[in-house]
Amino acid sequence: MNRVDQCFADLKAAGKKALIPYITGGDPKPNLTVELMHTLVESGADIIELGVPFSDPMADGPTIQLACERALAHNTSLKDILGMVKEFRETNTKTPVVLMGYLNPVEVMGYETFANLAKASGLDGVLVVDMPPEESQELAGYLKENDLKMIFLMAPTTPDARAKTICEHGSGYLYYVSVKGVTGSAALDVADVKANLDRIREKTDLPLGVGFGIKDGQTAAAVAKVSDAVIVGSALVRCIEENENAPEVIKQKLSSLMKEMREAMDA
């Protein structure tokens, strides 16, 4: 079984919701990423979304834009990121890892090469922010051959007919974007999120994750009540940004924010 499916099955059995942290690979330094991934797992991560830095992160707010710039200052490439996944797998064979990023680095590597290399590295799924289902057919084929999940976004603006198509194309889980905006946007409205998730749940059995606007224990717990997974990005990346040159402090801060959310969600 793919690790993502296994993870959601285990959580369901335990009556828990998934906590999915996002960090950008290579931020603040490439040789720190694997350590940070382990820190995230130790402090409560169920799945890790690892960002592939891109020069033009059109869907991201300033926090993740700067994370990309820090990673790219070290020339962190897609190939490097897959190398990090491989290294992570040497000591962790359980926690699913999903790449999140933009299409162009994948396009330039070549879909087939990417899918094969991703599988060999121990990756479990891929979320390409700027690739809606309509454009994803070819990549989806290669991912499927390699038992890699293809995760799609859903938005408050997604009409029902599109939502149905996305549900049919997606695998692993669906990522519901809680607000109209870029990553790191302002507060989300839980009632509104719930109404939209109910609408989506009629169409699919896939687990529903919610991201954008979750920043602490309180927001994580509120979202966990209405969804299957809580996705946190900018709030964690900010811990890295503020302590760029102090790896130990980064680990401490990531760990304490993760634990705060984990405890609030499980309470």
Binding site: F54, A59, L78, P132, E134, I166
Partner: protein
């Protein structure tokens, strides 16, 4: 990903893009999910209105009475003499209201915005011409206007920044990335995602997610249609070659599209050669780039081996862009258009030449087309005809040219 270019059916080429916005492998719609519904709505609206005679009539009326169309096709006698070959005609888009071809498109998109009922418009701009054209139509229609502009461009196109502010637009300097046109477009997209309910994005070039490349092309095609008609009137035949500069590709596709099926008409798209195509300091994705995905479409890009978008260089802000409209990528692959480049120095020389011997001061963008057009004409017979699209006037560039000449104004 290249295309078999033997036996291309040119009529079929003019029927592109497909319903999903593809020109062969290029184009499409690569944006995050939040924008997909808005793009679907826009596609539907445009399909409906483009067949609506009342909409067309309103657009044509604005072009005639507000923009001042048709723009002349001017026989540049002294430029012809200087080049020493084919007759050179200039398509005078510089004489449009606001001074460039950009307004043909903003008039059209602002009309679409009016039909959507959204009270706000946004735009990205490089040279500031598209920003000015958007601020202008927004002022006229009473729409609230915000223009995103790279900080580097805000500094080198000061005059246009102030023009936009006079017109009531807010100009937002963008500092991320390379602080030029591509970053302005990123920021405009981010703003749009956040404000999609009440905001219409007026994209300034023939790029971006479907349906933008198509609708911008359609609105700019007035350039080529007029040129055909005027050439028949003045010379009794079509030109042998047409030449246009290519940034994102809107003035060029506007000139080229109506000529696609006229196989005897050679077409030249002139990219920004910057310091020369041998190095990296240029903005010539069609000449030197590779296919990739940026800003919502698949097209030729300036990118490194890891798929990161490279910084570009051009003396002209409007050409300083690492991508290009997807229809150009396709026209390149099928071999219907030749894509070439003119360097900064060649463009500057053409700027001075045209100013001195014809009394026409071209935009630095357009100067690239003039530079290549003169070279092309020089190698052709005297009874042949070359049309150069003079996409804009050069007032906005006086500061840049002066400072390159060591003069402070």
């Amino acid at each position: 990903m290249s295309i078999d270019n033997t036996n291309v059916d040119l009529k079929a080429v003019t029927e592109l893009p497909t319903e999903t916005g593809h020109f062969g492998p290029y184009g499409g719609r690569f944006v995050s999910e939040t924008l997909m519904a808005a793009l679907d709505d826009l596609t539907e609206l445009y399909e409906r209105l483009s067949k609506d005679p009342a909409f067309q009539a309103e657009y044509d009326k604005d072009l005639a009475h507000y923009v001042g169309r048709p723009s002349p096709l001017y026989f540049a006698e002294r430029l012809t003499e200087k080049a020493g070959g084919a007759k050179i005609y200039l398509k005078r888009e510089d004489l449009n209201h606001t001074g460039a071809h950009k307004v043909n498109n903003t008039i059209g998109q602002a009309l679409l915005a009016k039909y959507t009922g959204k009270p706000k418009v946004i735009a990205e701009t490089g040279a500031g011409q598209h920003g000015v054209a958007t601020a202008t139509v927004a002022a006229r229609l009473g729409l609230q206007c915000t223009v995103f502009m790279g900080k580097t461009d805000v500094e080198r196109q000061k005059l246009n920044v102030y023009r936009m502010r006079l017109l009531g637009a807010e100009v937002v300097p963008v500092t991320s990335g390379t602080a030029t046109l591509k970053d302005a477009m990123n920021e405009a997209m981010r703003h749009w995602v956040t404000n999609v309910d009440d905001t219409f994005y007026i994209i300034g070039t023939a790029a971006g997610p479907h349906p933008y490349p198509k609708l911008v092309r359609d609105f700019q095609s007035i350039i080529g249609r007029e040129t055909k008609r005027q050439s028949m009137e003045l010379e009794g035949r079509l030109p042998d070659a047409v030449v246009a500069c290519v940034g994102g590709g809107s003035n060029a596709i506007g000139m080229f599209y109506p000529f696609i099926e006229d196989e005897a008409v050679a077409m030249y798209g002139v990219e920004a050669g910057g310091h020369g195509l041998d190095g990296d300091d240029h903005a010539a994705p069609l000449c030197k780039g590779k296919p990739g995905v940026l800003h919502g479409n698949r097209t030729y890009l300036m990118e490194d081996e890891n798929g990161q978008i490279m910084g570009t260089h051009s003396v002209s802000a409007g050409l300083d862009y690492p991508g290009v409209g997807p229809e150009h990528a396709y026209l390149k692959d099928i071999g219907r258009v030749n894509y070439v480049a003119a360097t900064d120095d060649e463009a500057l020389e053409a700027f001075h030449t045209l100013t001195e011997i014809e009394g026409i001061m071209p935009a630095l963008e357009s100067s690239h087309a003039v530079a290549y057009g003169m070279k092309l004409a020089a190698g052709m017979d005297k009874d042949q005809i070359v049309v150069i699209n003079l996409s804009g006037r050069g007032d906005k560039d006086i500061h840049t040219v002066a400072s390159l000449d060591g003069i402070e104004i």
